[in-house]
């Protein structure tokens, strides 16, 4: 680790206002980490938990799982630098696998419905609507 002592003027020039905040996020994620996340989402706030990038700067941790979506842009280069890859290739939870299958099915049904309506094939469309309704019910459960 490299220790840098900055005077008042230099620290302002380098954008270091809160020395503890600066230290934590950068210590954890490498110099520039806090800036990265800020770049991606200026003045953004997580709609689910109210977390902001300033909070990330302070703690080096995110607020909730939705933050990964809220701050996705800033996080991307961070994750790239931190990990072997940028996409998960490991365990797929059963529930997610099931959801994935169902949403694939839903997409196909919706496509067919659109087609049926365009072709004014109303009997097929009604049938498809029933199927979609049932599938929606399945997904909700």
């Amino acid at each position: 680790m490299q220790k840098v002592n900055l005077c008042d003027a230099c620290s302002k020039e380098k954008g270091v206002q809160d020395p503890t905040g600066f230290a934590l996020a950068d210590l954890l994620l490498g110099i520039g980490a806090a800036e990265e996340i800020e770049k991606g989402a200026p003045a953004q706030k997580c709609p689910v938990c109210g977390f902001t990038q300033a909070d990330f700067k302070k703690t080096g941790r995110l607020g909730c799982s939705a933050c990964y979506h809220t701050f996705a842009e800033g996080l991307e280069s961070l994750l790239k630098a931190m990990h072997k890859g940028t996409e998960h290739v490991g365990k797929l939870p059963e529930r997610a696998a099931r959801q994935l299958r169902l949403s694939d099915k839903m997409r196909v049904l919706n496509d067919n419905l659109e087609k049926a309506v365009a072709e004014e094939n109303y009997e097929t469309a009604a049938n498809l609507r029933d199927q979609i309704k049932q599938l929606e019910h399945e997904i909700a459960n």
């Binding site: 990964y68 996080l75 990990h83 996409e87 939870p93």
Partner: protein, 374 residues
């Protein structure tokens, strides 16, 4: 199950003799999981944390693996009890600092421990003795799959399991092994090994994890990254590196026996002498000397049946264990006296080191034709 029962049994991973147990003390695999759209513990307000705890804990306690478990809210454990659990690696130092809204649940054998509201909503870890990362993963993976069907776990198609710290995202898995490497330390090769391991993206840490000092020649090696690699790939890679380190450690020990026997005997003799006769001992000194005694057992200078008392002393002489056993709060000086007393007691009937019994491996330079002709 009560805390006193946790205290009185040492945990299977300490007694067990897993593969490569001379060098690999234990293998651990932990998974980090969170509930979808709930603030992570570090960001959640106290009421939110308590809600998550109340939601999660019944499911954890109901796991078939958690029959007759020890389950306790962190605020109901004394500082000393928390420290005992840290010394046994059953909870993290971070978790020990938690109070209201956090809990720990562990099985009777102390091979499975689940922290609720540590840095993540769930931190589940399995511990095995020796080099058994695969089987540790199997256990914790099974528990994870059971809980996944009961709880809405935060999972993203692209990023995998979502964790409070971006360093854990993806598999949420940290696999680690505790290695005892006195041979590499005594032959000044340890830094070379650590550097090589760091270079291939694995982390080497001290006894109690991140930011702790290496004592007793004990080192933790673990995966650094969690995204972009499958769980079993991570474990296979780590296992391979550990196997290489085991070979290096054995080579270093043989080299010491052959090239520097006097240094080695001096170390073992001194460890035996000081532990047997000292009246005050810090935990750091105790760990370092016990490490040399353990090496002595490995090499045959002490009989094999003396392994367990040495292994147990590693844990029993830790500060919180000492105080819990003696049922009183002690200052550092008092602890040092008590520690020395316990060790002296254990080593009273311990035989003197017998350097003649040290097993020398056959000389590598023996011509191979000779073996072929036999």
């Amino acid at each position: 199950m009560k805390f006193s029962q946790v205290m009185s049994s040492a945990g299977e991973w300490l007694r067990g003799e897993g593969p490569h147990h001379q060098v690999v003390v234990s293998s651990r695999v932990r998974l980090a999981r969170n509930l979808r759209h709930r603030a992570f513990p570090g960001w959640a307000k106290k009421t939110e944390r308590t809600q998550v705890l109340e939601l999660v804990k019944p499911h954890v306690e109901a796991l078939p693996e958690m029959q007759d478990s020890f389950s306790e809210l962190l605020q109901d454990l004394s500082a000393l009890e928390k420290q005992v659990l840290v010394e046994r690696h059953l909870i993290s130092r971070e978790h020990a600092a938690k109070g209201v809204g956090s809990a720990v649940v562990m099985n009777r054998k102390q091979t499975l421990s689940i922290m609720i509201n540590e840095e993540d909503h769930l931190r589940m870890q399995a511990i095995r003795s020796g080099l058994q990362l695969k089987s540790a993963f199997k256990l914790v993976d099974k528990v994870d799959s059971t809980l996944e069907n009961k709880l809405d776990i935060a999972y993203d198609q692209r990023l995998g399991y979502l964790t409070a710290c971006p360093t854990n995202v993806g598999t949420g898995m940290r696999a680690s092994a505790m290695l005892h490497l006195p041979g590499l330390v005594l032959s000044d090769l340890i830094n070379q090994v650590i550097q090589a391991v760091n270079k291939i993206g694995l982390a080497v840490r001290g006894l109690y994890g991140e930011g702790t000092e290496a004592m007793g020649n004990l080192f933790q090696i673990s995966n650094q990254t969690t995204l972009g690699e499958k769980e079993d790939e991570i474990i296979a890679r780590l296992t391979k590196v550990i196997e290489t380190i085991i070979d290096k450690e054995h080579d270093a020990r043989q080299m010491l026996i052959q090239k520097k026997p006097d240094t080695l005997w001096d170390q073992i003799g001194r460890a035996y002498g000081v532990l047997t006769y000292a009246h005050a001992m810090t935990s750091k000194e105790a760990l370092n000397l016990l490490s040399i005694m353990k090496l002595g057992v490995d090499l045959g200078a002490f009989p094999e049946d003396r392994r367990l008392p040495i292994d147990e002393l590693f844990i029993e002489t830790q500060p919180a264990h000492l105080q819990k056993t003696s049922q009183q709060k002690l200052n550092a000086e008092e602890r040092d006296f008590l520690r020395a007393e316990i060790i002296r007691g254990r080593l009273k009937l311990f035989p003197k080191p017998d350097m003649g019994k040290v097993a020398r491996e056959p000389d590598d330079e023996t011509p191979s034709e000779l073996n072929d002709n036999e």
